[in-house]
Symmetry: C2
């Protein structure tokens, strides 16, 4: 949790965190600044001190001040003079400014963990230069130490409220989507608009983005609305030109965040328009049963990997291949059971191959449970997903609820379930 | 232009470009892939060869294939085996995969330029490891070589069509915003909704995001809708709680991009609700005159910095301070005249302090002209901005047009222009 940050830094012997980039769509930065619009900034958090925000342009001083953090203009470091001292080398001039900022805060040796979404080449050049300028420091990344990742792995009440609020937005928009689809007529086995033209996946997604925007949310990583054969490939986002065929599974995986790149929510339902053919119904029942059994067994203080194993046991018990029984399979249960959700849609704790003993369900964990089955050969894909929280008292509950119905009734279907 | 990439690579003796990250909100990647949803990928462009895309998860194979590029799954490099060879060091294992990918394409020495929006710490650790694994290569960044930046500095017909399309969306949404504001009543000098509550900046922005979403656009870097004192600070995005006061300047700077992070457009108008006080009117006339004089003089094959100087001449001639006459001023003309627009809202060519002789207006340049005046002490800020293109024949035209009226009439104003 955020409150543990100094403790985690001390544990990993990190003298300071240095975070670069904008204050939008930049999780490590937003974790400290909240949602403001500063286009280019640095943040330094020295162990035991409050974080400081350095904004690049004086024009952004008011935006920077909205963070409530101590702020300073990068222009205070006389960029022109630094550039002259660096013989016109902009990267070196920037590294010289970082050295000044760090030294001012008493950091001239020790381990500095670096963060922030920036251009890879710039980061490499900049930190190579800083390393040369400050040979007594050691630059480390999340991959080495994971200080921020470990802090972010559990959420405080304020963060959980923000994720819950996105959960409310999500299920509201999912409800509107179901109504929208159901309100369409059917012709030749596909949904059609009033003018008789087929409704397309792209039309539905545009509508969904609209409903999200109305609610202060956005979907920067896309929306999965994949039908039939595409639904059978877990991360296919669906073809915008695709039509909505009755009797095919639609995987609807929606993972919006607060506008500007704040907290996410992650949610999936699988629908069949009009009717569900028998093979779909059967596979759906398998997924739903596994979902319910796992959710029933969720318990605080357990390792996440335990539930991944359990999901494999349950699916294999029902006769499906899993990545455990056949690492190369693309049919059956082919992805991990869940993941943490926060300022990134996928973050720790991990449930699958990347899980460590530290990936546990503890108070403040926010995570998804999302079993699924995929049969490209049958053009069927099914996934059910909700986002859960571990309460301070260890109880585990979903942050938003939505019915599990498979069939979305269509107003004037011409076909009925055949069997 | 994209077609010049091999030439530019040869000029800078770059053996390969290596681009990391997602295919959304990642300009260097989107430049090659177009708009698809692959959450984690690498792209390698060897000089003289077609680019190749490596997707991290087999689940994303269909999305990757939509790029039309040659694709390969990263899983083909046996990540588990690599991780074992790297003794569990995930960063080293990834660097080992990059080495394999590069060597396979015949790159085992020379300069490799690295790109892509990723976590700074990861980039630094990864490329430090790759540099150790491949001592014969030299890793360079855009700051050193600028190969991609120089290619992207001029746009081909397909890119210009995409930017124009965003221009059409932008002026449509600006028109809707003007109508929306004008349709509100006034009470106590501020715009009010039907129920008598004041309309707030946040309400208007929410509506704007909606109109953008309806048109397949988004505004990942925010929207400037800043009134009065806030308008007088160029990059203040405006206070969501702020009310819309009559007779104050509103700077409305909108810079949306194609949904998912594609091509941008950049546009600003300044409005006064109901009436414009004399001092606002005067400053507005100065900005508009400078805008018109500059646009009149725009010519292909000129250096951008020439127009920056010209803007300073013109504003100083009208009695305003500029950053040239007083580098510390926060009153007068305090920012640069324009910038390139493409997959980033701000990119080369530069007009201000960062401009080099290579920052010129040439066929395929897409750039803004945006003079402005700011007087925080008077609570007045004014900026006018359009995005222009240099045609293949050297003619220069705005990519979208919108009226320049200062006053937005309000249906039932209780006050009138006083002078």
């Amino acid at each position: 949790m955020k409150a543990d940050l100094d403790l985690l830094m001390r544990e990993s012997q990190i003298a300071a965190l240095l975070v670069l980039g904008a204050t939008r769509h930049n999780p490590a930065m937003v974790y400290f600044t909240g949602r403001v619009s500063v286009s280019s900034a640095e943040l330094i958090k020295v162990v035991g001190q409050e974080p400081r925000l350095y904004y690049r342009s004086a024009m952004e001083r008011e935006e920077a001040a909205r963070t409530g953090l101590q702020t300073r203009s990068a222009e205070a470091y006389r960029p022109k003079q630094l550039l002259e001292q660096a013989n016109g080398d902009v990267v070196l001039a920037q590294a010289m400014r970082y050295r000044q900022m760090l030294e001012e805060l008493g950091v001239n040796k020790g381990r500095i963990a670096i963060y922030g979404m920036v251009e890879a080449g710039t980061a490499y050049a900049l930190f190579s230069a800083l390393g040369r300028l400050m040979p007594e420091i050691e630059l480390v990344s999340e991959a080495d130490q994971g200080v921020l990742g470990r802090a972010r792995m559990t959420k405080d009440a304020q963060e959980i409220e923000q994720i819950s609020q996105m959960g409310r937005v999500t299920v509201e928009v999912v409800g509107l989507t179901a109504e929208f689809l159901s309100s369409h007529g059917e012709k030749g086995g596909v949904l059609v608009k009033k003018n008789g033209d087929p409704l397309r996946i792209g039309d539905v997604k545009r509508q969904i983005r609209l409903w999200l925007a109305e609610r202060g949310a956005e979907s920067p990583q896309g929306i999965v609305l994949a039908l039939g054969r595409e639904a059978a490939i877990p991360h296919s986002s669906g073809d915008d030109q695709g039509v909505l065929e009755l009797g095919k599974t639609i995987v609807f995986d929606i993972f919006p965040c607060q506008e500007g790149g704040g907290y996410y929510y992650d949610f999936t339902r699988t629908w069949c328009l009009g009717y569900a053919p028998e093979p779909v119904q059967e596979l759906y029942e398998d997924v739903e049963a596994v979902y319910r059994q796992i959710v029933e067994l969720l318990q605080a203080d357990e390792q996440c990997s335990k539930y991944q194993e359990l999901a494999c046991d349950l699916f294999e018990g029902r006769g499906h291949a899993t990545l455990r029984s056949d690492p190369a399979t693309i049919e059956g249960y082919v992805h991990s059971l869940g993941h943490g959700v926060g300022l990134q849609v996928h973050e720790r704790p991990w449930f699958g191959a990347s899980a460590t003993p530290a990936d546990r369900l503890v108070a403040g964990s926010v995570f998804t449970i999302e079993p699924g089955l995929y049969y490209p050969s049958k053009e069927i894909g099914i996934r059910l997903e909700d986002t859960f929280v571990v309460e301070p008292d260890g109880r585990i509950r979903p942050l938003a609820t939505f019915p599990m119905d498979l069939v979305l009734p269509i107003s004037r279907p011409s076909r009925r379930k055949k069997n």
